[in-house]
Symmetry: C2
Subunit: 396 residues, 2 copies
Amino acid sequence: MTNVAIIGTGHSKFGSRTDVNLQELAWEAVKQALEEANVEQKDIQYFSVGNVGTWSAEPLPAVVIGEYCNLAPSGTMRVEAACASGSAALRDAYLAVKSGEADIAMAIGVEQMHQSPNPTVVEMIGRAGNYFWEFENFGLTFPGYYALYATAYMNKYGLKEEDLGKIAIKAHHYGALNPYAHFQKEITMEEYLKSRPVAWPLKLLDSSPITDGAAAVILASEEVANKYTDSPVWIEAQGVGSGTANLSRRTDFTTIDAARMAAEQAYRRAKINLDSPWKEIDVADVHDCFTIAEIVAYEDLRFAKRGEGLTLAREDQTYIGGRIPVNVDGGLKAKGHPIGATGVSMAVSLTRQLLYRAPNKGMQAEIRNGRALAHNVGGTGHYAYVTLFSTRRPGL
Amino acid sequence: MTNVAIIGTGHSKFGSRTDVNLQELAWEAVKQALEEANVEQKDIQYFSVGNVGTWSAEPLPAVVIGEYCNLAPSGTMRVEAACASGSAALRDAYLAVKSGEADIAMAIGVEQMHQSPNPTVVEMIGRAGNYFWEFENFGLTFPGYYALYATAYMNKYGLKEEDLGKIAIKAHHYGALNPYAHFQKEITMEEYLKSRPVAWPLKLLDSSPITDGAAAVILASEEVANKYTDSPVWIEAQGVGSGTANLSRRTDFTTIDAARMAAEQAYRRAKINLDSPWKEIDVADVHDCFTIAEIVAYEDLRFAKRGEGLTLAREDQTYIGGRIPVNVDGGLKAKGHPIGATGVSMAVSLTRQLLYRAPNKGMQAEIRNGRALAHNVGGTGHYAYVTLFSTRRPGL
């Protein structure tokens, strides 16, 4: 076992990226990461590719990307954990280094959803749970799934549409500051409330968009990392959980068990106080595929007690300067959610935060503890990954 | 870092398995592995699922399988390395244990190809390389790809159709002894030579079938393994490589660079003599998706010099009792090739070989060195994984 450091990060422009193909899109992020780490392709001993890609022409993208980015003959695989596929890629590369199988590895997340028409993509995402039980019979789409959470939370804790609006407004506020974001304009509460319903109470402005994009991080073992950088960001701990495929087997739609479990696992491994983890974390990226998901995440991550996530939103406690800044890169909602890239994008954003390299001053959180958290959910808790990043070298 | 042992193995019946759905098929193997290891689901801290599945209704199978097999809330991901996806699943679970992230993990490989009609499956496999460059323009199917290897090898080294026939006959000989195999009947050279051409010189009897099946192995760290078993089989070393997606970038169609590289990596890690590795290995499973692939594998694995793989075949040196027994479970050719399951199936077969638990006496190799090798190729060397298994505890 060795400590594992991030020594380079790369991020493409997110948005509708039909100007490039899948491998060109990946290369935008890979190139930036190689340059930042001052590493050549031949130094990358292993790379993993996070991609769902049911909407793409390349059904098996890892080797196509490896060839184009000149990463072959290094070993590789493609990994999938639905909307957490990027975190799965990070995990695979992390395990390769931590286990001693590779000294330097790369995690690439990429998704080009605009290769298929939107209704196809909506169907494919809807099928991300349990096809035969749910999608074939009921045709539930993803906004529909998360509307179940929103209505359950409204019923139990008195959530209002305006509370969800606060989340959307914050996302767009920070998205407007992030040159990589899909959406770069502020929205008002009035615009939010007038936004077209998608699955009540969720509106278009509650929803992350269909986005294309790529992100990459280069990981190195402790010994090697020190040769490449004076400012490593360490992967301190990771928790990982899964839930039932079938939502009728879930008992509570105001929390995501897999995420709660993954968070606890990560906190225990990093010896973080479970009563107030937000005191030890400077900035977080959480999986806000819909605004309600961010409020649930506050609670699953123990940034607030059960039922009090909405209070954090109401009191603007997750802006920079509040209890804990969340999604100050615009989040899935405004930065965009290219499914396979999202988890790696979180790692890029947070690494840059910890090193005071956020692309814009207005989106730089204050770093006191040197620790950041990424929360990435696949489906509605079908998969969950919680990763802690730290500027302090972890004990082994 | 810790040594990693296989403490349980499971294997479904391979064949046309439309009598079950994907998760039921996986459960056949998972159940057997749990019983063999005397482990309960709650003890499995992490599981990975190898599956390509473009032909299945469940586009994201890992959580569906996790739910059905009662493995949730443990962490998981689905991995894909084309026809080497099973080895990718083994690698992911192996890294989870070796890195210390899990004490007990499970690798599950499963594929149910008969969910789609055969022509769809043939198309999907054909697209496993580089869609835009090759499949869209030229429509090459997989027998076509491997026919390139066969004709190149014929041209360079004087391979005859009868040499390929020897491989097919051996596969069916051992398949007939294996109760899990898709095909369980012997074939004669006459039948082979009369077999319908698919892509000259490859015939139907040169080709692995479209198969459904599942396999599972349970891995444990050294400390934990000793609590569960007195006969651990260790993962001694693994090599992993990749090749170009685009075949026009390959220079030599008589060898697979990625496999050669993966083998060398594994041999170096296990301190095996590169000049005569077959002297230190008792039995091997190699990726004989087509008969020519087995002959190329003999050379890529250094069981024979370049151009002499066909001599091993001619002299029956890869039957039990020969230089090195290969595919004595029937191989992909007769046991079947359910893509995501194949790599895990190899691990199951070889573990049972090393422990003298082959399902039939006639297919049990003599174990002298306590070491077995699995060679699993995705595509035509797009991915390659070579894994060494040993009854001797590796040094760290």
